[in-house]
């Protein structure tokens, strides 16, 4: 019965997230929902997924939502009413799913196809011998299905670049600090013309936090956060962890610094140009290792040919790409924060 507790809580949160009117509460409940999901993954022994969900879902997602909430200055949703067609469609989908569930195998059955078909046992057997990884998830992610992971990293980099493309405005005078407000320009047709008034204001995310406790604690914590992030990246072959998780943690360290010490300070530590370069470098490193494998006579991303000893070569190759992934992910997490937080000429 205890098995049911967390899933039920998830359902309650999931429904609450959408019923609650206040957007801030909605985002907070969503953060709790993500964290509970991470705990559920732990319970189901999916430890890598748990770390990633905690860092990304409960961490970065919440930060992003809150920043955008602040930018758009909305507090409440507008009027709500039950949308009958949408309800019917959703229930229709549920019905199809229920229908399909009827002959799905039981959970936890060791004899279902994914566990008996040759693929997974092969991974479990060859993870150490051929890929040098004790963490089987890492060996699949980085070697057996390494090509997928290259594109996963590209998706992350793409998101970062899309944000830069869409949000960055370069017509600022040199020497202007981001935290100096630029005058508000008149808008085109605004909701005022249809009778809607804008709502609350939020404290600006760019300003420094003068609170001494926060500043001291942050100064002490950040080096440890970064060390932990590096540890997670490097340790991924032996235990839970890997490039993504470590990268998110590294990125978060700069975000925390920015939140407490102000955006301009953070930019001095990690400048925008460096960050942009890092987003590309990680993917280049990953893709580049694959190309080197081509020159060494193997297929694309065949780490085994990089060095004379295939097992050691795999370890080196995988370490290389995990670092690449970590760099890109860290840089993109910073990008997501940097680009959404800046004031541009029209705000």
């Amino acid at each position: 019965m205890t098995d049911l507790a967390i899933p039920l809580f998830l359902v309650v949160c999931g429904i609450a997230v959408l019923l609650v009117k206040d957007l801030m509460s909605s985002i907070m409940i969503f953060s709790v929902y993500s964290l509970m999901m991470a705990i559920e993954w732990c319970r189901l022994n999916a430890v890598d997924v748990a770390i990633t969900e905690a860092a990304v879902g409960a961490g970065i997602s919440t930060v992003l939502f809150l920043v955008i909430l602040g930018r758009t200055k909305s507090v409440d949703e507008g009027k709500k009413h039950i949308n009958i067609p949408a309800l019917l469609v959703a229930l229709g989908v549920a019905a199809v799913l229920l229908y399909g569930t009827m002959d799905l195998p039981h959970l936890r059955d060791p004899n279902i196809a994914p566990n008996t078909h040759v693929v997974t046992p092969y991974y479990l057997e060859n993870s150490y011998e051929h890929a040098g990884q004790l963490n089987v998830v890492a060996s699949i992610l980085a070697y057996f299905r390494g090509y997928d992971t290259l594109f996963e990293t590209t998706v992350v980099a793409t998101a970062g670049f899309c944000l830069i493309l869409l949000l960055r405005v370069r017509n600022k005078k040199p020497g202007t600090l981001d935290s100096q407000k630029i005058g508000v320009t008149a808008n085109k047709k605004t909701p005022a013309s249809i009778g809607v008034k804008p709502t609350a204001t939020f404290p600006d995310v760019l300003d420094q936090d003068k609170d001494i406790i926060k500043r001291t604690v942050t100064k002490l914590l950040i080096p440890f956060i970064q060390l932990f992030g590096l540890y997670v990246i490097v340790h991924g072959e032996l235990g839970p962890g890997g490039g993504f998780q470590g990268g998110v943690i590294l990125g978060v360290s700069i975000i925390v610094y920015s939140l407490v010490f102000g955006f301009d300070e953070a930019k001095k530590r990690m400048s925008v140009k460096t960050k942009d370069l890092l987003v590309s470098s990680g993917v280049l490193l990953y893709g580049g290792i694959g190309v080197i494998a081509l020159f060494m006579g193997g297929n694309y991303l065949q780490y085994g040919v990089l060095l004379p000893d295939p097992q050691f070569a795999s370890v080196v190759g995988i370490m290389g790409i995990e670092i690449g992934v970590g760099i890109t992910v860290a840089a993109v997490m910073m990008t997501l924060f940097y680009e959404t937080v800046r004031i541009d000429a029209n705000d």
Binding site: F151, T158, C162, K188, D276, G287, L294, Y300, L301
Partner: protein, 504 residues
């Protein structure tokens, strides 16, 4: 290196895309060169791969050196290579075309990033087509989608943002349905490799779970393909995107989604599957296809903005492709595949031409096309050729595909489809006639006063046609509509080979 071409087809654009913003910092034109050269290289690689496929039949490339189903496989057969050639060619044409065109639509400092996202979009599309692993398709689908959303959002009018947002929401729901379907497939078979799935699924054809898997995968892809009734995102997305984006997206995006649908329906699930389903899927697809054809054509008639009109027309054309698929015969599949090529060429040319008009006049309403025949003769000639092809005039490419679809309909005993094809062609003719009338037969708004003047004082109208870098791609693509209409052997035989394998 020849052996590694399948990987290089994707890896080269990927890596070049990543360094494009760095190159572009020196001058944005360098990123244009990077993208144009890279898409050209991809096109050349695709032709080389075609040669190999014609000899070998099927190419299999093992990523990371692991054999499938343990590793990810790139599997190229007649169907893939057909689509790859179309996509890489249109991407190249779009890249050439974009050089001048984005001057009016995208700010200078954003151009290098625009090119990067454009190249990533192309990489995502090509990657979806060339892979033999179904989860890999999902990942590349997300790359193509994400970059697509961002490209649309660059449109000048603010409706572009709303269009991009709605497309994002619908597209993500679709992709997630696709992922859900893959999950069901994996749960029942334990594999993600398309060839392996194909071998292992038949014993499960009767199960409800596999039927549900199929349903969700098809619904997810239908949203991406904008099949009626999931087409709502398309008109706004195509209409408000920058011209290059509309053209390339219309020419390639839907084609790749159609490819994945065909791959799932006929390689992952073999034709026997359709005899086991609880209700007749063939009829459902057929009805939806007909609805799309008619609805698309009728809605197109009602538009005053030419890009919206072309967008609704695309909904109709996608209906033709689905019609061919639903007939489930070799001729029907050939019709669909040939229409894939044709629509890419025709819509590509049309959107390119409209983009040239936007470049010169900044306006997209049908009213504004008056008298452009004199001011932009070559562009309008290309438009006319493409319009005739859409209608299905013989000697154009549009006629070839409609012919095969009609023959397939008759072969399957569905005579009633032929009048529908004819009616929609007629509607197409009507909505294009309105435009052609405006272009060639009506005087331009400023020239009307001249009409009333003395004949001996007629001032010649200055030709203000599109710049060469825009004109050449437009005209080339339009001319190809005729070339493949007359010399149809190459595409038709390739489509036939593909269709035969799919429906064996």
């Amino acid at each position: 290196m020849i052996k590694h071409l399948p990987a290089l087809l994707i890896v080269i654009p990927l890596l070049v895309a990543i360094i494009t913003p760095i190159i572009g910092r020196l001058h944005w034109v360098l990123s244009w060169y990077a993208v144009t050269i890279t898409t050209f290289i991809s096109f050349v690689i695709s032709l080389l791969l075609l040669q190999t496929v014609l000899v070998q039949g099927r190419i299999s490339y093992w990523m990371s050196g692991w054999e499938p189903p343990f590793g990810i496989e790139y599997a190229i057969d007649y169907l893939n290579i057909y689509v790859i050639i179309i996509v890489s060619f249109m991407a190249f044409a779009g890249a050439v075309y974009s050089r001048k065109n984005i001057d009016v639509e995208i700010a200078e400092e954003k151009k290098p990033l625009f090119y990067m996202i454009y190249l990533l979009f192309v990489t995502g599309l090509l990657g979806m087509v060339v892979t033999g692993d179904i989860f890999n398709i999902y990942v590349l689908l997300e790359i193509a989608s994400l970059t697509g959303y961002a490209l649309i959002a660059l449109g000048k009018k603010r409706q572009a943002l709303v269009g991009a947002y709605n497309y994002l929401v619908m597209g993500t729901v679709g992709a997630t349905f696709f992922l859900l379907g893959i999950g069901y497939l994996y749960l029942m078979t334990g594999t993600l490799n398309i060839a392996d799935l194909s071998a292992r699924l038949p014993e499960f054809y009767q199960t409800k779970a596999i039927f549900t898997a199929f349903t969700f995968i098809v619904i997810g892809l239908s949203i991406k393909l904008a099949i009626f009734p999931f087409h709502f995102w398309l008109p706004n997305a195509y209409a408000y995107a920058p011209s290059t984006v509309s053209a390339v997206m219309a020419a390639t995006g839907a084609k790749v989604a159609a490819y994945v649908l065909i791959r799932v329906m006929f390689t992952v699930f073999k034709p026997e599957f359709y005899t086991h389903t609880p209700f007749n899927l063939q009829y459902i697809l057929l009805i939806l296809a007909v609805a799309a054809i008619l609805a698309g054509s009728i809605m197109a008639l009602a538009q005053t903005d030419i890009k919206k009109m072309l967008a609704y027309s695309s909904v109709g054309q996608i209906g033709y492709i689905v019609l061919g698929i639903s007939l489930m015969s070799v001729t029907g599949m050939m019709g669909s595949l040939i229409h894939l090529l044709n629509h890419a060429l025709m819509k590509g040319a049309l959107f390119f031409a409209v983009g040239a008009v936007v470049y010169r006049t900044g306006l997209t309403s049908i009213e504004n096309l008056r008298g452009l025949g004199k001011k932009m003769p070559w562009t309008m000639a290309a438009f006319t050729i493409a319009a005739l092809s859409m209608t299905g005039v013989p000697l154009t490419v549009g006629f070839v595909s409609k012919w095969y679809l009609a023959v397939a309909s008759i072969e399957s005993g569905m005579w009633w489809l032929v009048p529908i094809i004819l009616i929609s062609s007629l509607l197409t003719a009507v909505y294009f006639w309105r435009i052609l009338d405006n272009i060639w037969l009506k005087p331009a708004p400023g020239d009307e006063s001249h009409e009333h003047g003395h004949d001996s004082h007629q001032t010649p109208v200055k030709s203000n046609d599109a710049p060469l870098s825009m004109l050449i791609p437009t005209f080339t693509v339009a001319v190809l509509c005729i070339v493949f209409g007359v010399f149809a052997y190459a595409p038709v035989s390739l489509a036939e080979k593909a269709a035969v394998i799919l429906l064996k």
